[in-house]
């Protein structure tokens, strides 16, 4: 091999191909480029998300119900509690869908469309609050179980399992009978029911985090358990918690409607509420009066599906 070519080493700065990182730019620029692509990941995930049909449909439905809950009068100015009367003053009772009442009227002549729109409010107040409470409680319990393990885990696991082993409806009936029927009690019931499965998910995530070396490293520099749990582990399991929250929100809508159906709603049953309406009208289906039941039921279904579509798409986009 010859080594007499020393004189023609050019430094390569000029004439570099566009986009090429030349030798003078060393490691730094290449690392910079790598970082840039990593920043792009978030952007690309968002792009994938906004192109997912499930996410678009889900958020559109969700947005519609949120607007209905907050500004029902934007969508309909019919009073949901009043009997629909035609111009000639005659009451429109148990009439099928028509131009006057899009979703028809119920047994006492109330407009089903107006009731469905106004009925979004109670479910959209109770479900998110209950879900958030359940997430907070479930996360705290799950973190304690997963980090300490041992007897703490044994005791809490038994409690969680006992909640999970009793049928949802039975637990709900017990709690509501004990504490009476009001919005806070319904929220509390749903929150209690959901704390158990959330705690289990968070426990599993905590166990796998606690095995990682950064936790060992924190122990080595003498950090307290509280610091390790709240500052080291918790920020790393927020992804799991967010996914759990969206999934539970869908279930919460369903559970709140179910409780209303069996008669546990906040109060006045003349107030529009999807679950209450279904429970009051469903027997009429045999007489071919399907509209007062089917439309609120569809509303429940659409909200549950919308929440799940959004949750699924977010989960999948972050994993892509």
């Amino acid at each position: 091999m010859t080594d007499d070519h020393n004189d023609d080493i050019t430094n390569g700065t000029d004439g570099a191909a566009p986009g090429a990182v030349n030798e003078n730019s060393s490691a730094k620029d290449i690392e910079e480029a790598a970082v840039a692509t990593r920043k792009q990941i978030a952007k690309e995930q968002r792009r994938v998300l906004f192109r997912t049909p499930g996410f678009i449909i889900g958020s559109a439905i969700l947005l519609f119900w949120v607007v209905s809950a907050i500004f029902p009068t934007l969508i309909t100015d019919t009073d949901p509690k009043a009997t629909v009367r035609l111009d000639d003053g005659s009451a429109l009772i148990r009439e099928g869908p028509s131009a006057d009442a899009w979703f028809g009227t119920d047994t006492i002549g109330r407009d089903v469309f107006a009731r469905v729109i106004h009925g979004a409010e109670p479910v959209l107040v109770v479900s998110p609050i209950a879900t958030i409470l359940a997430i907070i409680a479930g996360t705290l319990v799950g973190l304690a179980m997963g980090y300490y393990l041992g007897w703490v885990d044994e005791v809490l696991s038994r409690i969680v399992e006992s909640i999970l082993s009793i049928p949802v409806i039975l637990t709900a009936i017990l709690v509501i009978f004990t504490f009476g029927q009001s919005t806070p009690v319904i929220i509390g019931t749903v929150a209690l029911l959901f704390t158990a499965p959330i705690a289990r998910t968070v426990r599993a995530a905590t166990i796998s985090e606690a095995q990682l070396d950064y936790v060992t490293s924190a122990k080595m520099r003498g950090e307290s358990s509280l610091f390790i749990i709240t500052r080291e582990i918790l920020p790393n399991i927020t992804g799991v918690i967010v996914v759990e929250m969206t999934v539970r929100l869908g279930y919460a809508v369903f559970t709140v409607a179910t409780l209303a159906f069996i008669g546990f709603s906040a109060g006045d049953i003349t107030e529009p509420d999807w679950g209450v309406d279904v429970s009051q009208q469903w027997e009429r289906i045999v007489g071919d009066v399907w509209w007062p039941t089917i439309f609120p039921a569809l509303a429940i279904a659409s909200l549950v599906i919308a929440v799940n579509l959004v949750a699924d798409s977010i989960d999948r986009a972050t994993k892509s």
């Binding site: 090429a20 995930q45 950064y214």
Partner: protein, 680 residues
């Protein structure tokens, strides 16, 4: 497809890949990963592919059987085996091809086996697929297990995967792969997760089987030593292209591409020590998949690149001097000698004389379901200032337990003492005084696991600084910047999170954290085994330099004997929780040595050539719960003296200058390390 291959097919290469271009579709965009790969493997030949992670070598391995993930897209080129084009085959034809003519062995044998099916049934299934009835398949399965020299194959048939060690499982996987007498066997990092001793056994097995079967082998490995000892020819891959190809001897002894040269310079070779010279760290990183690449894939990192390299794609230059088919894709293969050699180390430091940290008679017994498992048995050694103690041994020998006892994760048993400058420390870190916590810190194997993903580098460093030195607020921040600079990170990195950093940078952050409180001893638990060789070189250089500047002592745990030899002043050899040998690195590589050390040293495949007379270690490391009586090593020792070694615990013999060996053998009968000879 016919069962008998016509004679023309035997002459066609077992694998022929031409101009293969492939992309992965990630988040909706196809990203190029293979950019024109061409090579062929002849019948009966072993071909190796080496390169850093992300260069596309595993993708090539999977592509060789057209076995690609759902988002893999072949955009150009062809793959053929025995004259048949895989790229034209239908799904059914591919199935037949894979079941009858080709096999693959994966990196992790645990994941390759179904955990709920007995070994016998799984191996038999490989034969049922070929059309055998149940009884014949079982008989063939037993034969296959016998062929891979598994101990007691009848009982292995009845066991489940979790009941076998990694080495045994890999043998089972190989037995299954050989079921169809493949003409092409693809091995993707088959020994990466295994101990050096087990690795050596598996490699021996593959080598012997190759001679028996005459099948072609495509071997993917990042360990250059494995390729050197196993293959006939090697291709060096970089950014989805093969940049150099030739016989292993030619490529490794006479590299012609600057990248090959850089890779080879980055590993400590021929007994190189930290006092001799630094290792060569290739600057920069491998391009990401999908990046637009310039003319020559390596130009951005090449030390001898010129203007032409930026303008024209390099030609394939024939480099064959005496051998055949050695070529490199480079404009300047004649200037290969201008690739800078690693720098010689100018300043050396003396190891201090005073003991900084002492481990005296430390034992650790775990209790599991009422049983006592002694993981450490009266371990005794000390460290001087600025000294590196290398700790080697197979997995399960207690290396990590020792590290955790020193750092206070596990409290050692009553009786022993871990001392800091002569003062006994408490067992648990939470009970230790601040000074003791500050004095001992640790660098972990896997920086992904060791750094909190949710924190920025700045948070990671300042928290450790505050906790270890008491500095707060701006003072802590100032110190964080200082430490980061010392680790050759720059300020920009401080506000990034670990996932934004490359593996090497992450490990620098982990080292920076360990150095936050100016420690006396840093325990390094396999700090480079998760990294590529060129990154490993940079990290080892950094550790050596920090030691020169800060006079820190290291307990350096590694399974890579070459790396330990490079960095360590003394070496301790552990086996079943006991130190079997402790001596200076020079003394250990000159001998006499413990029979276990002899086997360990001889097991390492070397990039410098073949190991003469490897000493095989039969069987598995005994469980610490049930250690053999007498000398714990006698069950696997070829020098064992019946009536002595299996009865009495061996004495500690000092063979000179602090070199202690725990063995019954008279000093003059103790073995000396095996020699490595270059084949060329």
């Amino acid at each position: 497809m016919t069962d008998t291959l016509p004679s023309t097919a035997t002459e066609a290469p077992a694998l022929e890949i031409k101009d293969l271009e492939m992309s992965y579709v990630v988040r909706g965009t196809p990203r190029e990963v293979l950019r024109g790969v061409t090579f062929s493997v002849k019948q009966g030949e072993a071909y190796g592919l080496v390169g850093e992670s992300g260069c596309g070598k595993s993708t090539t391995a999977y592509a060789a059987l057209r076995y690609l993930p759902g988002n893999g897209l072949i955009t150009n080129g062809s793959i053929a085996s025995g004259g048949e084009r895989l790229t034209d085959m239908s799904a059914g034809e591919l199935r037949t091809f894979r079941s009858q003519h080709a096999s693959m062995v994966y990196q992790d044998p645990v994941q390759a086996m179904n955990p709920v099916i007995k070994i016998g049934d799984q191996v038999a299934e490989a034969f049922s697929v070929l059309g055998m009835d149940k009884a014949a398949a079982r008989a063939a399965a037993l034969d296959a297990l016998t062929r891979v020299h598994i101990a007691d194959p009848e009982s292995v048939m009845e066991r489940y995967p979790y009941q076998l060690s990694g080495g045994m499982l890999q043998r089972v996987v190989i037995a299954m792969a050989l079921a169809c007498d493949p003409q092409l066997l693809v091995l993707d990092e088959p020994t990466t997760g295994l101990d050096a001793t087990v690795e050596a056994e598996v490699l021996d097995l593959v080598r012997n089987l190759r001679q028996e079967l005459n099948s072609a082998v495509l071997l993917i490995a990042h360990n250059l030593g494995v390729i050197r000892t196993m293959c006939d020819r090697v291709g060096v891959m970089y950014a989805g292209r093969i940049v150099e190809e030739g016989t292993v001897d030619e490529v490794f002894d006479n590299p012609s591409h600057p990248y090959t040269k850089g890779l080879l310079n980055s590993i400590p070779r021929r007994g190189q020590r930290k006092t001799d010279r630094e290792l060569f760290a290739i600057p920069g990183n491998l391009p990401q998949i999908g990046d637009k690449l310039p003319t020559c894939v390596y130009v951005a990192r090449c030390p001898i690149a010129t203007e032409i390299c930026h303008q024209e794609a390099p030609p394939v230059i024939d480099r064959a001097e005496d051998g055949e088919g050695h070529w490199a894709r480079c404009h300047h293969p004649d200037r290969i000698n201008e690739v800078p050699e690693p720098e010689a180390v100018a300043t050396t430091h003396e190891v201090g004389t005073e003991e900084v940290i002492g481990v005296h008679g430390v034992s650790k017994t775990f209790r599991q379901r009422g049983r006592e498992i002694p993981a450490l048995v009266s371990v005794d050694f000390g460290f001087a200032e600025g000294e590196t103690l290398g700790l080697v041994g197979e997995s399960g020998s207690g290396k990590s337990t020792l590290a955790k006892a020193m750092t206070g994760v596990h409290a050692p048993d009553e009786g022993g003492a871990i001392t800091l400058r002569g003062r006994k420390m408490k067992g648990k870190a939470t009970e230790r005084i601040d000074e003791s916590i500050r004095a001992i810190q640790m660098v972990f194997q896997n920086p992904d696991s060791a750094l909190n993903r949710a924190w920025t580098v700045r948070q990671i460093l300042t928290r450790s600084i505050t906790k270890l030195t008491g500095l707060k607020g701006e003072a802590a921040d100032k110190r964080a910047v200082e430490i980061a600079m010392a680790m050759r990170l720059n300020e920009r990195h401080l506000d990034m999170r670990p996932r934004q950093l490359s593996g090497g940078l992450k490990q620098r952050v982990a080292i920076a954290r360990a150095f936050a409180g100016d420690p006396d001893v840093v325990v390094c638990d396999e700090p480079t085994s998760a990294l590529d060789v060129s990154v490993q070189a940079a990290i080892l250089n950094l550790l050596a330099q920090l030691q020169r500047d800060e006079r820190t002592s290291y307990l350096f745990i590694s399974h890579d004997i070459g790396v330990v030899r490079y960095l360590a002043d003394r070496i301790a050899v552990m086996y079943v929780g006991r130190i079997m040998e402790l001596g200076s690195t020079d003394a250990i590589f000159e001998g006499p040595i413990h029979p276990y050390t002899e086997a360990l040293l001889s097991a390492v495949p070397s990039v410098d050539g073949e190991t003469k007379d490897r000493i095989p270690l039969e069987g598995d490391i005994p469980s610490p719960a049930n250690p053999p009586p007498g000398c714990v090593f006698h069950t696997r020792c070829k020098y064992a003296i019946e009536g002595t070694c299996n009865v009495e615990e061996p004495p500690v013999v000092e063979v000179g200058n602090g070199h202690k060996i725990t063995c019954h053998l008279p000093v003059d009968q103790m073995p000396v390390p095996v020699t490595i000879t270059t084949t060329s």
